[in-house]
C-alpha cells in the first residue's frame, strides 16, 4: 500500500502564511515601481538611462545575460543528472525546472527593455537576417523556453492527477483546475510508457538546446571586435559560468522552500551535501575558464588587452572584479571542500554569494569593454567616459528580478515542489528492496 496520504499531506500545495503573503506583495510593489520607470523610459527615450554612445550597453544586457545563464539550471541538474542516473536528484529537479522556466521567460522580456524601438519588435520577424547573432538568439530563446516548459509540465501530469483527487472535497474549484492540467492522466500502463518516453526525449533535447542558448549568448559578444569580448574562450566560459549561476540559484531557492514548507524530511542534509559537491565542481570549471580568459591576455600584454585588464584588476572596476573572483568563486570553492560547508545553512549563504557574484560577473563582462574602444573617447560629455546604472535602470532591473522571483513563487504556490508520484514510487521500490533482502 502506497502511503500517498502522508505524502500528499506533506507535499500538496498550501496557502501561504503571513511571510509568504508579505513576500509576494513586496515583489508586486517592486514590479509596479519598475513598470512605472519603464513607461517613463518609453516616453522619454533611453536618455533616462546612464548609457551613452560609448557605454552603449549596460545593466539591461548584463541582467539579460544573467537570466539566460540561470536558465541553464534545468540542463545541468535535470538532464545531466538524469542521464548519469544520479537518483538523489528527485526532490530538487522540480525546483530546478521552475527556476529555469522563470529565468528564460525573464530573459526574453529583459532583452526587449534594451531596445531603442520596442514598437518595432516585429521587424525581427519581418526583416530578420540569419547572419546576425541577434536572430540566432531570437530563434533559440523561444525554443529553449518551449522545451523548458514541457520539461516542467510532463513530469507534473501524475502529480496533477493525484492533486485532483486530493482536493476533490476540500477545494472543488482547484481540483477542477488540476484535473484539466492533468490532461486525463490516470496512470494506465500505456500512459506510463508514453509519459516516460516523452520525459526521456525532452530531457535529452534540453541538453543541446541549453548549450546552444549559452553559446549564442556568448557569441553576441565574441563576434565583435572589442577587446575583452574578442575571445575564442567565450562559449565554454559562458556555459561553465551558467552552470555556476544556475546551481547557485538552485541551492538558495531549495533552502528557502525547504524552510518555508518544512520539507526537512524530503530534502535532507544528504541532498545539500550532493548539491554542494556539484556546485564546487561547477565553480572549479568556471575558475579554470576564468584563468584562461584573464591570464593569457595578461601574459601576452598587448597594449589594448593591458588597458582592459588594468581597468578590471586595479582600475575603476577592481573592487567588483575581486569581489566576483574571490567572493563568487574562490571562497565558495574552499568552503564547499569541507563537509561542514555543505550543510544546509552554509550552503544557502554560499548559494546567495554565488548568485550575487554571478550577477555582477555579467556586469563586468558587458560594461568595462565598451569604455576603452579602439579610438580614444574624445569630443563627448565627460560623463560618457564612465558608466553606472541610473535610478531608472536599477528600478527596472530590480523589477525584472522580482518578476522572476514572483513566477517562481506562484509556481511554488500551486505546483508540488517535490514530485509526489516519483517519491512514492521510489519509497515503494525501497520498501520492496528491504522486503526481499530480509
Amino acid at each position: 500500500m502506497k502511503n500517498y496520504d502522508k505524502l500528499l499531506n506533506d507535499l500538496a500545495p498550501r496557502k501561504f502564511g503571513k511571510t509568504g503573503v508579505i513576500w509576494t506583495i513586496s515583489l508586486v510593489v517592486i514590479i509596479i515601481a519598475g513598470l512605472i520607470a519603464y513607461i517613463d523610459q518609453i516616453i522619454k527615450g533611453q536618455v533616462v538611462t546612464n548609457m551613452s554612445d560609448y557605454a552603449l550597453w549596460g545593466v539591461y544586457i548584463s541582467n539579460f545575460v544573467f537570466f539566460v545563464a540561470t536558465s541553464f539550471v534545468s540542463t545541468v541538474t535535470v538532464a545531466v543528472l538524469r542521464l548519469t542516473k544520479n537518483t538523489w536528484r528527485t526532490p530538487i529537479v522540480r525546483i530546478a525546472e521552475i527556476i529555469s522556466v522563470a529565468a528564460i521567460i525573464m530573459a526574453g522580456l529583459t532583452i526587449m527593455i534594451d531596445m531603442g524601438r520596442p514598437d518595432r519588435l516585429m521587424n525581427l520577424f519581418i526583416h530578420g537576417r540569419m547572419q546576425s547573432p541577434i536572430i540566432w538568439d531570437v530563434i533559440i530563446i523561444p525554443t529553449f523556453m518551449a522545451i523548458s516548459i514541457l520539461l516542467l509540465l510532463y513530469p507534473l501530469l501524475p502529480d496533477f492527477a493525484l492533486l485532483k483527487k486530493y482536493f476533490k472535497n476540500t477545494k472543488p474549484k482547484l481540483s477542477k483546475w488540476y484535473g484539466k492540467l492533468a490532461m486525463n492522466y490516470s496512470g494506465t500502463d500505456a500512459q506510463k510508457r508514453i509519459h516516460l518516453n516523452s520525459i526521456q526525449i525532452i530531457s535529452i533535447l534540453i541538453i543541446p538546446a541549453g548549450f546552444m542558448l549559452q553559446t549564442v549568448d556568448a557569441w553576441l559578444f565574441s563576434t565583435l571586435f572589442r577587446v575583452g569580448w574578442d575571445s575564442t574562450n567565450m562559449g565554454a566560459y559562458f556555459i561553465s559560468g551558467a552552470a555556476v549561476a544556475g546551481i547557485g540559484a538552485l541551492v538558495a531557492v531549495v533552502y528557502v522552500i525547504r524552510r518555508a514548507y518544512h520539507l526537512e524530511e524530503y530534502i535532507t542534509d544528504f541532498h545539500f551535501d550532493k548539491l554542494g559537491k556539484f556546485l564546487a565542481l561547477a565553480c572549479l570549471l568556471y575558475l579554470y575558464f576564468n584563468i584562461n580568459e584573464y591570464l593569457i591576455p595578461e601574459f601576452t600584454s598587448k597594449k589594448e588587452e593591458v588597458t582592459h585588464m588594468n581597468l578590471l584588476v586595479s582600475g575603476e572596476y577592481a573592487p567588483l572584479f575581486w569581489f566576483v573572483i574571490v567572493g563568487g568563486l574562490i571562497i565558495p570553492i574552499i568552503a564547499l571542500f569541507f563537509k561542514k560547508g555543505r550543510k544546509p545553512l552554509p550552503m544557502f549563504l554560499i548559494g546567495l554569494l554565488v548568485v550575487v557574484g554571478s550577477w555582477w560577473k555579467r556586469y563586468l563582462i558587458v560594461t568595462p569593454t565598451l569604455l576603452h574602444p579602439f579610438l580614444p573617447i574624445q569630443g563627448v560629455p565627460e560623463s560618457w567616459h564612465h558608466y553606472f546604472p541610473s535610478v531608472h535602470e536599477w528600478l527596472i532591473t530590480f523589477a525584472t528580478l522580482a518578476m522572476c522571483l514572483l513566477i517562481i513563487t506562484l509556481l511554488v504556490r500551486y505546483v508540488p515542489v517535490v514530485p509526489i508520484q516519483r517519491t512514492a514510487d521510489e519509497q515503494e521500490a525501497l520498501e520492496s528492496n528491504k522486503n526481499t533482502k530480509s
Binding site: 522619454k44 527615450g45 533611453q46 536618455v47 538611462t49 548609457m51 551613452s52 554612445d53 560609448y54 552603449l56 550597453w57 534594451d114 531596445m115 531603442g116 524601438r117 518595432r120 519588435l121 521587424n123 525581427l124 519581418i126 526583416h127 530578420g128 537576417r129 547572419q131 546576425s132 547573432p133 541577434i134 536572430i135 531570437v138 553576441l220 563576434t223 565583435l224 571586435f225 572589442r226 565598451l370 574602444p373 579602439f374 579610438l375 580614444p376 573617447i377 574624445q378 569630443g379 563627448v380 560629455p381 565627460e382 560618457w384
Partner: protein, 327 residues
Amino acid sequence: MEENNNNSRRKFLDKGLKLGLATAIGGAAISEISKLNAKSNNSSGEFVELMTTDGTLVQVDSSEVVEVVHCDDQDKKYNVREGMPNRKFVMVIDLAKCKNALKCQSACNKHHYITGDHAWLKVYKMQEDEDTAPYWMPTTCMHCDHPACVTVCPVDATFKRRDGLVLIDNERCIGCRFCMAACPYSTRVFNWSEPKQEQDQIKKELKMEGECHPSPEFDGVPSLKGTVDKCDFCPHAIDNGELPHCVTACPNGVFYFGDKYEDTVTNGDETLRLSKLLRDKDGYRLMEGLGTKPSVYYLPPVNRLVDFKEGLDNFTEYKSVENTEES
C-alpha cells in the same frame, strides 16, 4: 409498386440533371479550348524579322508579336539600397594638412542638423607613443567594404550599397545598438531622446514635405528617437554634383573625395589620381588588420605644413557639437 415508380422517376430526374450540368460545363470548356486553338491557328501570313538576344535573325509571324507592358519603376525608379550605378565613392584624408580648424565638423553638424552631444565627424588628438609627434586625425564613417555593422544588423536596417556607401534606414532600425558595438571606429551615434531638431523645417529645406517615409539616403535626417545615426558621405550633395560638406568646408584642403572607378579624388582645389596619390604618399587605412576594408584612406602626417599646437585652441575634450540652446 407505386414506391418503385416514384423511385425510378426520382432517379431519372437526378441523372438528367447531372447529365445536363456536365454537358453545360463540358460545352463551355470545349468552346474555350477551341478559342485558344483558333488564336494560334489564325496566322496572318505576314512575317516580321527579329533579332534574338544572341544576335541571330529569326522570322516570326506578325500575329505573335505582342507589345509588352513595361514596368515604369524597374528602369527609372532609383533604388536607394542599390545606390548610384557604376560609382564607388572614396575619401582621402591628408593628415599632414590638418590643424584642427574644425570647419569640417561645424559644416557637417549644420547640414545634418546634428543637435545631440556627439558629432558624426570628429577630429581626434592622436599620439601613438610619447616619443612620436602628435597629430590631428579627422574621422568620418569609414564606409567599409566589409562593414561589421551591416553583418550584425538583425533587421537589415543598415546596409551596404554598390556605390560604396553604408547607410541606415532609421524607419526600420529597432535600436538594439549591435552595430555600434560592432563598429571598431566608434562612428555611430544613438538618439537617446527625442531629437531636438525642428523636423518641419528640415523637411522643407530638404524638399521632403509630403513624403511619409523619408529616404534613407538622408541618413538620420531627420533623426528618430531610439535609432542609430552616422556619417552618410553626403549622397544628397553628390546628387547635386557637389562635394560632401566636410570637403568644401575645410580651409586646409585636408579632405579629398572621389570615385575609385574613375581613379580621381578632389578637395575642390586640386584633382588628383587616387592610385598615384596613395602610392606616392604612402596611403593607409585605419585598422587594416581587422579586415573591414574602409573606403576612407589616410595620408600619414609627414612633412607637415602646420604646427600641431595651433589646433589646440580649438580642441574641446568634452564637446563636438555647438550647443544650439544658447541662441
